[in-house]
Each structure stands twice: as C-alpha cells, then as structure tokens.
C-alpha cells in the first residue's frame, strides 16, 4: 500500500482507539493489529513479533490497573480498604477503578502496538519521503545520516576491536574515549569529503526556504489550533473551536505547500498509486468522514464506555463493530496483493 494510505489508516485507527474506550471494540482492534503485525513481521523474516508486544500489553495493563486501583477510589463496588491514614493511596479499592485501569492499559498498549505495526509497514525510505518539501534541507540531512549510519557502526566496531586487541578492557566510561575520538575524527573527515563533493557537483547552496512571512503564518496557525483546544476544553460552542482548527490546519498546509514549491527536489523511484491503494484511501476517507460527521452531531459518546459509578456491561452497536474492523483493511489488501 502507498505510504499515504498507511498514514490515513494510522490516523483512523488511532482516532477510533482513543475515542471509544469500549473494551470490546479495543479488543477487536487489538486482534486485528496482532494479525497484521504478525503477517508483516513474517514477511520481513523478523524474530517473534507477537510475544514481545503481548508482554508489553500485559505489563501496561498490570501497571495501569495497579496505579488506578491504588490512587483512584471512585466507584460503588468496594473490594477492600486501605487505611485512610496512608498518604495518597488510603481509601476503598473499587472494582470500577480497577476496570478503568485495565481499559487505560488496553488503550496505551493498543497505541504502542499500532505504531509498532506502522514501523513494520513503512520502510525508512517511505517515511523519509513523507517529510514535506518545505523541510528539504532537513530531509537531506536525514537521508545522509541514514546512509552514513551503517558505515559509522562498522567503523565503531573496527575501532573497538582494535582497542580490545591492544588491551583496552572497555569497562569504564574513560575506556570509551579511544573509541569515541577516532570515530568522531574519521566521521568528520568523511563529512568534509562529502561537503566538498556536494560543492563540486553544484550542491553548495540550498534553496532559501525560510521566509519571515511563512514563519509568522506557521506561528499564527499553531496559535489558532492551540486556542481551539482551549475553547474546546472550556466547552465553547463547537462552531468556534472547529473553525479555529480548520483555519489553523489550512494555514499550515497552504504555507508548507507554498514554501515546498520553491525547493528543487529530484524525483526518482516515486511511489505509485495502485488501484488497491486508491480504493483503500477512498474507504479510509469515508471512514474518517463518517467519524467526523458523528463527532459533529454529537453521537460519538455512544461508542464510549465508562465503568463508573457502578460496573455494567459495555453496550455493543453495529456502528462500533464496523468502526473497530479498521485494522482488518490492510490484511485484506495484503491478501489481495
């Protein structure tokens, strides 16, 4: 799938996971992510992927349950009590707060696994390519750093071996100086060679992408989005903060596009938009639009769940089930491809 489709999919899955807090929906999302991640890991011949992620998920659930259970004493079903005189944790340990902790752990774990999956799905090249043209010098720095990285690692290994042969025990921090200094010197020598080669090939001057007007536009956009967030927190009418969000986002996009057009970028090995990618993008677009519509008419709360004040079973809706199937889309696409 095209990298942009993966990013759209990431946005959709993340938004749904953070909105619902219904454990059943989150479990469905998790199941899909484990299936997808496992498949991608197998394709890349990686060591077992499911087990470390499962271990992380369980640790997060355990930690979150403990923290929430010990500190939060909200809820009607008291399991046992800790003396009130104990600072911070004194009070009833309630079933509801423990369940809330489990849900928190599930959400954090799902987000972690979601990003682990996206790290598997996208190659370094694809991620670098996603950097906007307005940040062209930065993209060049990242590309060079990634290119140099393996040779620097190799050189570090060679210097370390040479030092060990000479009897350096490599136990104290001071023992690392004979590795760090030659590594730094030889790498910077290479940087000079690279700079000279770049200059000789006419790459001396970068396009000046920074302009005060663009900088002010970006600052203004950030302030708009920030103000929208504050207004939303204080429950101002949605018209105010949604307008600020839209204005801010549009200003960032327009500024970056305008500045990016000035960058001289060579395009090669461009990613193609296959029919499957276009179909997936359209499907995720409909998903996000549907979600935004529900948010606008105030129906998103029906997807949510809170165990407080007394624990009850979470409601299950067809709409929620459909939304929670989003991680399955890449599996179907990969299967089709």
């Amino acid at each position: 799938m095209n990298a942009i489709v993966w990013i759209l999919w990431l946005t959709a899955t993340m938004t749904f996971t953070l909105t619902t807090r219904n454990p059943l929906y989150i479990m469905i999302v998790l199941g899909g992510l484990f299936g997808l991640g496992n498949r991608l890991a197998k394709e890349r011949n990686m060591t077992p992927w499911v087990l470390p992620n499962l271990r992380f998920l369980l640790t997060m659930i355990l930690l979150s349950t403990l923290i929430n259970g010990l500190f939060s004493h909200v809820g009607n079903t008291a399991l046992f009590s800790i003396p009130q005189s104990w600072p911070l944790i004194g009070g009833d340990i309630t079933l509801e707060s423990l369940i809330y902790g489990v849900i928190n752990g599930l959400v954090i774990g799902t987000l972690y696994i979601l990003f682990n999956t996206i790290n598997l799905a996208l190659s370094t090249k694809q991620i670098t390519r996603l950097i906007p043209h307005a940040f062209h010098p930065i993209a060049v720095v990242i590309t060079i750093a990634l290119t140099f990285f393996p040779s620097i690692q190799q050189r570090a290994r060679e210097i370390k071996e040479a030092q060990m042969i000479r009897g350096n025990p490599m136990k104290k921090i001071s023992d690392w100086i004979p590795i760090m200094i030659p590594l730094l010197v030889s790498s910077l020598e290479n940087a000079i060679l690279l700079a000279e080669s770049m200059t000789a090939r006419g790459f001396h001057k970068q396009t000046e992408l920074q302009s005060p007007r663009a900088l002010v536009s970006l600052i203004l956009a950030a302030f708009m989005i920030f103000s929208g967030w504050i207004l939303q927190m204080y429950r101002f009418p949605s018209l105010f903060f949604i307008s600020l969000y839209i204005l801010g986002t549009s200003l960032v996009t327009i500024t970056l596009l305008t500045i990016g057009k000035q960058a001289n970028v060579t395009r090669y090995h461009q990613e193609t938009w296959t029919k499957t990618s276009m179909f997936s993008a359209a499907l995720i677009g409909i998903y996000i639009a549907g979600f935004a519509f529900l948010a606008l008419i105030g129906r998103l709360s029906t997807l949510g769940f809170s165990p407080y004040p007394r624990l009850h079973l979470p409601a299950i809706q067809t709409l929620g089930l459909i939304f929670s199937l989003i991680p399955l889309l890449p599996i179907l696409v990969l299967h089709h491809d």
Binding site: I127, A145, Q153, W176, S187, L188, Q206, Q210, V216, V252
Partner: protein, 270 residues
C-alpha cells in the same frame, strides 16, 4: 539582520511558551483535568501542539543549513549520535542512562542554539527511524532533546562572561548543565503521559485542587516512579561530559576551521 534575529528569538520564546503551557495545562487549567471533557484526547492534543512547535522550530533553524558544509556536518554528527542511541538500545545501561545527550550539549555549546536544537531533534528522529521508535511520543522527545541542545548556548554565554574558556570551570559548568537536563528531560517527558494515566486518578488530579497542590502531587508521582531512572541519566551525563568534553571540544574547534572553506560565489556575496 537584526530583524531576523529578533524574529528568531521571538519564535523561540513563542514555541517554548506554547509547548510548555500545553504540557503544564493540567496544573493551571481546571478543565484540562476534567475526565468528561478530555478523556483520552489529551495526550494526542498535546502531541499535536508539540508537533506544531517542533515544525516551527525546525523551519526556523533550517535556515542555518543553507550550504553543503553544514548539511554534511550535521548529518554525520546526527548519525554518530543515533549510533550511540542504538548502542543504548542494544546494550541497555542502568536506568535512564543515555550516551547521546553529551554530544547534543557539546554541539549546542560550541556551535550555537540552532545547530544544538537540530542535532538534538534529528538524533531522536533518525534513531527512531532506525530502531522502529516512531510513535506519538516522538515529537515530545524531539523537541525536548532539541531544547537540551538549544539551551546549551546559555553555558557558552556564562563561560564567556566568567572568562572560563579552556579552564576546569568550563567542564564543571557543562557537567552541571548535563546533570540538570538529566532530570529535566524525564520531568518534561513524564508530563506528556502523566495526565493520561492520571485521568482516572481522582486523588492525584482534582479540579478543585490549586496549581500548587497539583504540582506537589506530580512531584510525589515523579519522585516515586522516575527519580531513580533519571538519576542514572544525570550521573551518566556528568561522567560522559567530564571525560569526553575536553577532547570532543578540541575536535570541534579543529573541524570548525576546516569546514570554513568558501566557494567563489561566497566571496563575491559575503
């Protein structure tokens, strides 16, 4: 020129204020603590605002990268530092020990705030790409590491003021600075997810509590969960700077001269 510098300073101040305000909003804005109004969107909104701050800072700082020398220099230094972080992941040291901060601090100290910021932010990004560490935590890590490098310029101003250049006081000041950032880095990074964990923690986060009370609660949380972790980072930074600063700064000085080659075009338009 003065106008550009003023704009740069104002940008830095605005970004710092916006990022810092977003992170500390649970202390000062009662609504940010409300479970019903925030739910889980809080860390995402904070991440988004931090990402915007990062975008502005990088956009502003990249004006230092207008020639091939700076690009090559920054790229190589980033690759070395990312390699050190890779080493940290492969052979985990005790607690939060990380060998990457000393190079960020020294680069910021020697080459100025923009280069310091870029090395900090780029190191975290490149190592994130290599180790598969891309996630919602990355913008926060990038901007905080950027601030580490950017603020190192304050040490250079102090050293200049005290005339401690090439004296033991220079290394002591840098080590103290590294120690402070060892703690601050954890303190700032915790703020990103603390409200998220704390949403359900009734006694830790209450709307009726004052900013000071909530700050005290955060400190208790920090002391019980992160202090040991961050102390090892602090000790690591102090040791790395104490042993490495002098030879590394010497190398920086040598290469600063060697990187000062000009093209004919540069000479015509100084």
């Amino acid at each position: 020129m003065i106008r550009y510098r003023l704009l740069g300073l104002l940008t830095d101040a605005f970004v710092f204020a916006l990022g810092f305000f977003s992170l500390i909003s649970p202390f000062i804005l009662p609504q940010a603590m409300s479970l019903s109004s925030q739910t889980a969107a809080f860390p995402i909104m904070v991440s988004l605002i931090i990402m915007l701050c990062l975008l502005i800072m990088v956009f502003e700082a990249q004006s230092s990268l207008l020639d091939s020398k700076m690009i090559a220099f920054l790229a190589v230094l980033t690759a070395i530092n990312a390699g050190l972080r890779f080493l940290e992941n492969a052979i985990p040291g005790p607690g939060g020990f990380s060998p990457t901060f000393f190079l960020i601090i020294l680069a910021g100290y020697f080459f100025g705030s923009r280069i310091g910021f870029l090395i900090g932010a780029m190191t975290l990004f490149v190592s994130g790409l290599i180790t598969g560490g891309i996630g919602p935590w990355l913008p926060g890590q990038m901007i905080t590491a950027g601030w580490v490098g950017q603020s190192a310029v304050l040490v250079s101003l102090l050293v200049k003021q005290l005339e401690w250049k090439d004296k033991p006081g220079e290394i002591i000041l840098l080590a103290v600075f590294g120690a402070l950032w060892g703690l601050f880095y954890g303190l700032i990074m915790n703020l990103w997810f603390w409200p998220f964990l704390g949403v359900g923690i009734g006694q830790t986060f209450t709307q009726t509590a004052t900013a000071l009370e909530n700050f005290q609660r955060y400190l208790v949380y920090y002391l019980t969960t992160s202090l040991i972790w961050d102390t090892t980072r602090t000790i690591g930074n102090v040791l790395m700077i104490t042993f490495m600063a002098k030879p590394v700064l010497k190398i920086f000085g040598r290469f600063q001269q060697r990187f000062s080659f000009f093209t004919q075009e540069d000479r015509v338009q100084p």
